[in-house]
Amino acid sequence: MTKKRCGRRLIMYEIRNVLGNPFVYMFGIFFPILMLFIITKAVQADVPESMIPQTNTAVFITMSLIIPMAVVLLGYSSNYSQELEKEIPLRMQLFGFSPNTTLLAKIIAQFAVMSIGLVLYTIVAYSTLEMEIPRPGAALCLIISLLLLSGIFFALAHGVATILKKFGPTYAIMMAVYFGVMVLCGMMGVQVEDLPEAAQKVAALFPMSYITSDFAGFWTEGNYNFTPLIQSFLFFGAVSGIILLIALRRERREVTEKRM
């Protein structure tokens, strides 16, 4: 018997695992599209006709954030915490898959499903709504930001699920983070600049706030000061990274103790 590697079969298994969660379809694919249509329809009445493509684009950028949040942050944390509860990672280990191999397959699967969701969302938006065509650089900025966010969300979700090892508390925390971030980062109809000052200060710590407020401004033309966005990425990434490190250290300690 040999140790098994992260091959096509394991990755496909993990993709099926992600897609087996109905919330991924509901919140990761249908919900952002639904929100896109509802909000664009609602704001169209208040803006001049010439501004409609710009407004639609701003809503499109904002709602695109829901995809990594729903698929990775909520979907992965709930899936993985349930797996931990049922000791499925242990069974994978007993069948020759090391924790690192399984983790790699899970990361690839999450990015694959998130990307599929994003492509579908973009196709629906650009084929049904009047949208601005982005400069390649601006589109790339959004794609990179969403991929970076997915990585950070994965670290946070994996860390919290690994520490708590229970579906209930993990789901409760992730739901609170999900809705908290949606409210703070302007995804629930109230823009960041309209929030109370204290809330704005908290919102400034999250990259999502800059994406919802600023990305539409340089979608087709103009310059943008990336410093606050990068700082927020570093901060949010560091917090999630620390949580993940604590989780992995605890796991490693347990494994070390087990082999005394």
Binding site: G20, R91, M92, L94, G96, K258, R259
Partner: protein, 297 residues
């Protein structure tokens, strides 16, 4: 020698969950039944062997953890996954290209289950899924921890028959944890008796039986009259509803049998009753250590 265990101690917090103070050897091809009541340390033994718990002491083996296969008490998989994908992924093979896997699927009449999602399987089907995967690993050392618990009598019987037949003539070493003594009578040639984390005894099934019960035993229903009738004979420790008589030889066995037949008393004769043997092993163990109390139903 496949595995040698020396001075092993496993603690859960401050509680000693398992202690193996005398060297315990597991040899190639042995079928070891592990018995004991709840909390005896049976599952702890399995997990320790698999490297899943911390321990003090030594487990000497050339086997790596991935060379051991295990059917644990709880064997869950992703509930929304189809059984085919669980099988193919965990075994890293394709059913259509693996004749050995096809053989096992047919052997366990599992073809229909392949299309189902894991959550739709019945208890017996779930057990069969893990058994197929564990057998496919064809590991030199395989653990079956309460493989038939929670199954109805008929399913249990069928599963055991198949397990027995599959391993017939094979050199894999099996460690089988079970509460069902009749399963161990069929499957095991050695027994490891555990109680409250201690090794009560370990050895060949027949040797242990002779050590604690004699040549054979005769059991009959407990009752005042039966008690009086069998008074002259040596009684063994037995569950409260039974009287167990130890027969030192053929003559004594025949005497008892004649007496019971004459008095129209139903009885059973056995030379391999694991339940009575383990109860008396426990009694002897605690008496030796100045604690005669043995609880049994």
């Amino acid at each position: 020698m496949l595995v040698t265990i020396k001075n092993l101690q496993v603690y859960y917090g401050r509680q000693l969950a398992l202690e193996i103070d005398r060297p315990l050897e597991i040899n190639k091809g042995e079928r070891i039944g592990i018995i004991g009541s709840n909390g005896a340390g049976k599952s702890t033994f399995v997990k320790t062997m698999l490297g899943l718990t911390s321990y003090k002491g030594r487990i000497q083996t050339e086997l790596k953890p991935e060379q051991m296969a295990a059917h644990l008490q709880f064997n869950d998989y992703v509930s929304t996954m189809s059984v085919r994908h669980v099988l193919e992924t965990l075994l890293d093979t394709s059913i259509s290209k693996n004749s050995r896997l096809q053989e096992l699927i047919t052997y366990f009449e599992f073809e229909e289950c392949l299309k189902k999602h894991y959550k739709s399987l019945s208890g017996g089907q779930k057990q069969r899924l893990t058994i197929i995967m564990v057998m496919m690993q064809d590991a030199p050392l395989t653990f079956y921890d309460e493989v038939t618990s929670g199954l109805d009598f008929e399913t249990r019987q069928r599963l055991m028959e198949r397990l027995l037949k599959w391993y017939e003539g094979k050199s894999n070493t099996l460690c089988i944890v079970s509460h069902y003594y009749e399963e161990l009578e069929l499957l095991a040639n050695k027994l490891l008796i555990l109680d409250q984390g201690k090794v009560i005894d370990y050895g060949e099934k027949e040797t242990l039986f002779r050590k604690y019960c004699g040549n054979s035993i005769i059991t009959l229903d407990a009752g005042e009259e039966h008690g009086r009738l069998t008074e002259p004979y040596r009684k063994l420790e037995a569950p409260s509803h039974l009287i167990a008589l130890a027969c030192r030889g053929k003559t004594e066995e025949e005497d008892i049998a004649k007496l019971l037949i004459r008095n129209n008393v139903n009885f059973k004769r056995s030379s391999s009753d694991i339940e009575i043997m383990s109860i008396n092993a426990k009694k002897a163990y605690y008496q030796e250590r100045g604690n005669g109390g043995v609880d049994h139903d």
